[in-house]
Each structure stands twice: as C-alpha cells, then as structure tokens.
Symmetry: none
Subunit: 209 residues, 4 copies
Amino acid sequence: MPDNREIIIEATQRLLQSHGLARLTTRDIARGAGVAEGLIYHHFKDKAELIFEVVLERVRNTKDVLQNLPLQVGTNTIKENLEEVLHTIYRGHYEIVPIICSMFADRRLHIRMLEIMKERNLGSQKAIEGLTVYLAAEQRLGRLSGNINPQAAANCLWLISIQSAMNDNLMENAVNDTDVRRQISDYVQTLMAGMAPSDKTGKIKKAKK
Amino acid sequence: MPDNREIIIEATQRLLQSHGLARLTTRDIARGAGVAEGLIYHHFKDKAELIFEVVLERVRNTKDVLQNLPLQVGTNTIKENLEEVLHTIYRGHYEIVPIICSMFADRRLHIRMLEIMKERNLGSQKAIEGLTVYLAAEQRLGRLSGNINPQAAANCLWLISIQSAMNDNLMENAVNDTDVRRQISDYVQTLMAGMAPSDKTGKIKKAKK
Amino acid sequence: MPDNREIIIEATQRLLQSHGLARLTTRDIARGAGVAEGLIYHHFKDKAELIFEVVLERVRNTKDVLQNLPLQVGTNTIKENLEEVLHTIYRGHYEIVPIICSMFADRRLHIRMLEIMKERNLGSQKAIEGLTVYLAAEQRLGRLSGNINPQAAANCLWLISIQSAMNDNLMENAVNDTDVRRQISDYVQTLMAGMAPSDKTGKIKKAKK
Amino acid sequence: MPDNREIIIEATQRLLQSHGLARLTTRDIARGAGVAEGLIYHHFKDKAELIFEVVLERVRNTKDVLQNLPLQVGTNTIKENLEEVLHTIYRGHYEIVPIICSMFADRRLHIRMLEIMKERNLGSQKAIEGLTVYLAAEQRLGRLSGNINPQAAANCLWLISIQSAMNDNLMENAVNDTDVRRQISDYVQTLMAGMAPSDKTGKIKKAKK
DNA sequence: AATGAATGAGCTTTCATTCAT
DNA sequence: GATGAATGAAAGCTCATTCAT
C-alpha cells in the first residue's frame, strides 16, 4: 500500500530539480505523482506547504548531523569535525537553496513561507544551535580559544557553508567533492588560525603608522 | 523628451527590488513607468528580455563595490577597515536579494545571465579580488597573520556578509544599522581572533583524549 | 448511543446560521458534527436533502413566535406590548437571516421549500395571525384607534421588525440590546402617533396650495 | 462600437434572473456577453464588483426618485406622494433583493460587498435621506403631525416597502400592480392614521383595567 | 511611437461525492 | 453503520501578448 503523501513529496522533489519552481504547476505534480490534483490539497494545506515539506525532508539529514554534533565533543580534531559539519551543511543545502530562493522570488510564497516557519517554530537559528553548543563545549575543554564567542563563530561557519553552496549553485561552479572539500578546508583553516598577527592576544593592534 | 525605454527599465528595476520577479506583471511595470502596457513590446521582444536587461545592469554594478578598498592599506585598524567592507557588501546586496532570488526562479534567465557573465568576465571572484589584494598587502605590512591565505580569508568575509544580507532580507529580520553593525563586528572579531586555542601556532592540536 | 442523524442536522443548523450556505462544505459539517464526511451520505441522499431538512425545521418553529400574544390583550400599555412583540420577532429572525438568504441563493431549495409550506399551510400570514387577532381585540377594547385595519397594522409591524433584523444582520451593525430596543421604540411610537397632523380624523388633508 | 462593459453588465443582469447567483459562473457571464472571460476582470475588480454594479444600475432609478422627493413638498396629498415612493422602492427592489440576499449567503461575497459599500460610501441610510428631508419639510408645512420623528418615519416606510418586496419575492406571491398598490395603500393609511385611539394627543394611554 | 481593450490558456484551489476497508 | 483517502470537474482569477486605432 503506497503512501500517496510520500509519493507526492517525492514527485515534487524530482520535478523541482528538473523544472525549477517558477514553472512547476500543481497539475504537473499530480501527473508526476500519478494522483488526482485534488489529493494534493487533502495532504497539504496549499502548494507552499508542499514545497516546504520537500525542503524540510531534504534538510532533515543536515539537522540531525548538527543536533548530534555535541556527541563529537573531544573526539577527532576540531578541524576534522568542523570540516565535516561544513561539508554536511553544504551538501544538504546545495540543491535546496535555489528552491528556497525561488519561493522568495514570489511575494505570496515568501509571505506564506514565513508564516509556516513561524507556525512550526523553525528558522536557521534553531539549526545552528547544535553547532553553538558543540563549540562552547570544546571551548570549555580548552580545544577552542576562550577569546571567541561560540554563537558568533557558529554563525560564521553556517553562513559560509550556506553561501558557498548557493554561490556554487548560482554560478554553476564545478562541484566535485574534492574541490568542495578543499575549499571548505581552506575556510576552516582561516577561521581556526585567525587573521590577527601571531603575537596577538585577542586584542587588535592599532596601525603603527 | 524622456526616453521611454530607460523609464521602463528603471521602473522594472525598482519593482523587482521591492516585489520580486514572480508576481511582477507587465501591467505593474507599465503602471510604474507611467506608460501603456503595449509600449513594452515596442522596446523589448518580450518580458524576459526586459527583465534580463535590468538584471544585467545590476550585475555590472556589483563588481565596483570593493574596488577602492586597496587604498585603505595601512590606515585605521584592520578591524575597522574590515567592518566597513563587510558593511558595504551587506548594504550593497541587501537590496538586490530579490533579484538574485529571481535568477534562481527562472531557469532561462539564469542561463542567459551566466553566459553574459562568462563573456564579459564578470563574477564574484572578480569582485573579491580587491579584497584579496588588500588583505595580502596588510599581510606584507605585518598587520595580518602570515598563516592565513588571503584569498580564502577574502572569500570568508565575502560569503559571510552576502549571506547575512540574504538572511536578514528573506527572514524579514529587523535590520536597523546598529544591529547590523554589531553583528558584523562580532563576525570580524571571530575571524580576527581565530578559533584555535591561544597557544596556537597555526597548527591544530589533537584531542588529548 | 447518540443518533448521528440528529447530530448532523444540529451541526448543519448551527453552521448555517453562522456561516451561510454558499461556503458551507460537507467537510465543515462533518467536522462540526464530529463524524466522517462519508457518513452524511448514509443518512441523506445528498447535501441538498440535508440542508432542506434543516431549513424545514427552522420554518416549522417560526410560526410559534406570536402564538401567545393574544393572551396579553388589555394588559400593560399597548406600546409596551407592541415593543415586546417587535423585539421578539426581531430576535427570532436575526439569527435565521443567513438561512433565509440561502433560500434566495439556491433556486431548487427555494422551490421545494415553497411546496412544503403550501402543503402544510405554513407561511408568514399564519404567523402574523396572532398579532392581527391581538390588535383587533385591543381595538374592540378601545385601546387602539378604530380607524386602522388590524391586518394592515399587523403586517406593518411584522415587516418592520423582520427587515430591521435583516438589515442589522447583513450590514453588521452593532446590535446591542439597548440600541435595538430604542430603535424599536421609535418605530412603535411613529406607528402609534400616526403621521397625519394632530387635527386628523383619519382623513387626509389636501395641500392648501 | 458596442461598449463591452455595458454588454457584460447586461448579460449578468439577464443571467442573474434566469439562473440565480449561486449557480452563475464568470464563464457563463463571458459566454452570455460574447466576450473573453478575462475581459470581465479588465472592467471589474472581481465578480463581486460586477454583481454589485448590476444591483446599482437597477437601484439607480429608485435613488433618483428618492432624491427628487423634496421637490414634491407641498404638492398632491401626502398619501399620494408616499404611496408613490413606496411603490417605487418596492418595484425597484423586487428583483434586486434576492440577488443581494444571495450575496449574503456567501460569506466571502458578503464581506466583499460590505467592503465595496464602505469604499463607495453607500448604504440604505443614504437612500433614505431624501425621504427624511421630505417628511421634515412637510412637517414644517403642517401637513404632517409634529409628534413624529421624520427619521424614524422614513425608516418605517423604507423597511416596509423593502420587506414587502422581499416577502412577495420569497413567497412568490402574485404581484400584479393592482394588488401591490392596494397593499401599499393600506400600509400608508395605517401609518398616516396612527394606531393610538382617536382622542390621543401623542401620549399613550395606560390600560384602564 | 503609443495606447489600452481584448484575448484565452493556464493557474491554484474548492468541494460534493464515491468507495475500499 | 462508519471512516477518510481519493477523485475530478469546475470555480474564480491572472497575465503575457496582440492588435486596431
């Protein structure tokens, strides 16, 4: 007994990738799923909610990784852990970001999207929480500098990986895994090392001029 | 005699920023430009061509954002300079977020845009170049750590500010200048200080397990 | 064991009053009754039959409104009695306005309703009868002018109160009891005093030109 | 050169009478008018506004009569003038009332209808104004009792004629002009004479019992 | 060049009704 | 009797585009 709700979500996911959101109609979705158009509205309040469900499904894996991150506290190197996190966020969002952006290109969908997120108490801050907790824990273990603010650092990592994915997708950069990982490694390296000169103590030097 | 072609483009640009592409109708554009709907089709083959013209103009402007940065080498504190840069990128992108999103929503527009950018050698890497040059110069002056890769660092700064702007725009966060600047300051602070513990030498410690 | 047929009818009645017919769906009804949508079709041939059953019940009740009025003959003041009557008619109809409107909206329902009313000798003239009898009795007691036709007067009172209720309901006027009573009082006062000049004898003066 | 806006209104008017509102679709209207469906939305904001326009067109005549009523001050007999007014209101609303009621059976149309009325500053009080002014003027001339409130009296007349029309339409009473005029004559007679006993002075007697 | 009325295909959404369980 | 997932035929409305003037 096939679950039509799942079938609809899967068909939407498939069509979203081949056609894009702007040209995707509920008729296409129904045809693609092999069900009546009306059934969509039995399982989802409206088209926006269906699209949102697709995005959620995709993001779920990322969310799990971030939530389980605190379990990694003290294991491996920090750099290894962070690279893994950034890679997960990157991969989890590479295909989703254009869909989300598409929704924001449509005023009506945009508004509805924000409503749904409010209803379900979702938002990127929620997703980042696990990362923030992890960083704070590593900081307490002395594996991270006491000078940084875990929340700000988590935000930086999040923003970099999301925007990388978005940028690569928008510019259609080659995205073989080796390149992605090398790039991420560079970013993490930069964030770990810090840009201030090596004699720094967390205070920023004035120009000597 | 005002040039109606220009007037139409300007109105489209304005409306694209405030309303996004998906619900922007030729009627809206005509009304916004104060001309008849039919006139659009005298000046442009179709709606897509008009939109394309507008987006192209925006992309042309983007690369100028960071051109003047190298002039700041050695002046002020690094932190001050970087905060100013991030703020500039943030503000410059905040308003074109709906246009960027629109490109994700319309596959044909997206593809044409990429072709043009390739032809004319545009693209974010170009825009970041000024920032990279600046960072390298400061590094030579000893005002930045020798351990970082200027290109990677420039990328980090770029990605963070763009994605901040997108996030704030799309999630309809409050964006008064004070909040934006505080946020940016936190990010720069994190990047300057680095996340590795204070005895770091650029090498990453293993977990002591 | 509660009788689901009755439960469905009650829920429909309630919803018809608050929401009107046109947007009242079988889903709403089922939800309101706490049963499955399909069950409606076990108890009623189709939606029309269910609605019909409900409207019929309302019409049955309406004629009782004025039955007790003749009992008031000679008691209180006429004005008090009439104000009470108008208020009763007003209140009794205020809540069924959406149902009356629904009959105008659905031709089939309208026709069936008329047939039933003819068959069973229902109708507003029947309902007004009590009022007419009352007025005639008061006229015989000398408490009402001998110049009026009790039937016409009863009709006037009836029409005014019904239409007041409709108007207030449809225009979403504020309808606190004080306002309603003041309004009714004005109408009764007008009807009691009569519009002809005070030297009137029931005959209408010509303009003196 | 036929005016399509008028053609659409006329077709709607025609179809409204034969089919009723509940089953009247925009497709039917377009077909009936011989134009494209989209054209309706070029001339009217939505279906509600079109329907409303039809009602307005019909009511316009009534409105004119009421507004010109003050010109009749002092001419003919009061009774003649009032009978003419009530007859005009009755005739002008006989076919309109069911349409208006139908709109109120549909929650969405109801709300939209009230919006439109607010936008255009319409409402029954506006229509009654002319009648109120007329009554007040006749009162000053001594042709109407000084004991009545012109506003309340105007309301009574209005409510009676509207509800008569509605009642006759709903009950499908015979409505040949002779019957209608006789009925109206009875109502006016009642209102003129007043219901209080002939020795009245405008004060209401207590029951002597 | 400029207008704006007119088109018509296509969109999302609604909803009475059916039917396997 | 009772369920609720599933249907599919509309419904109201949108909008890029055309064309007579």
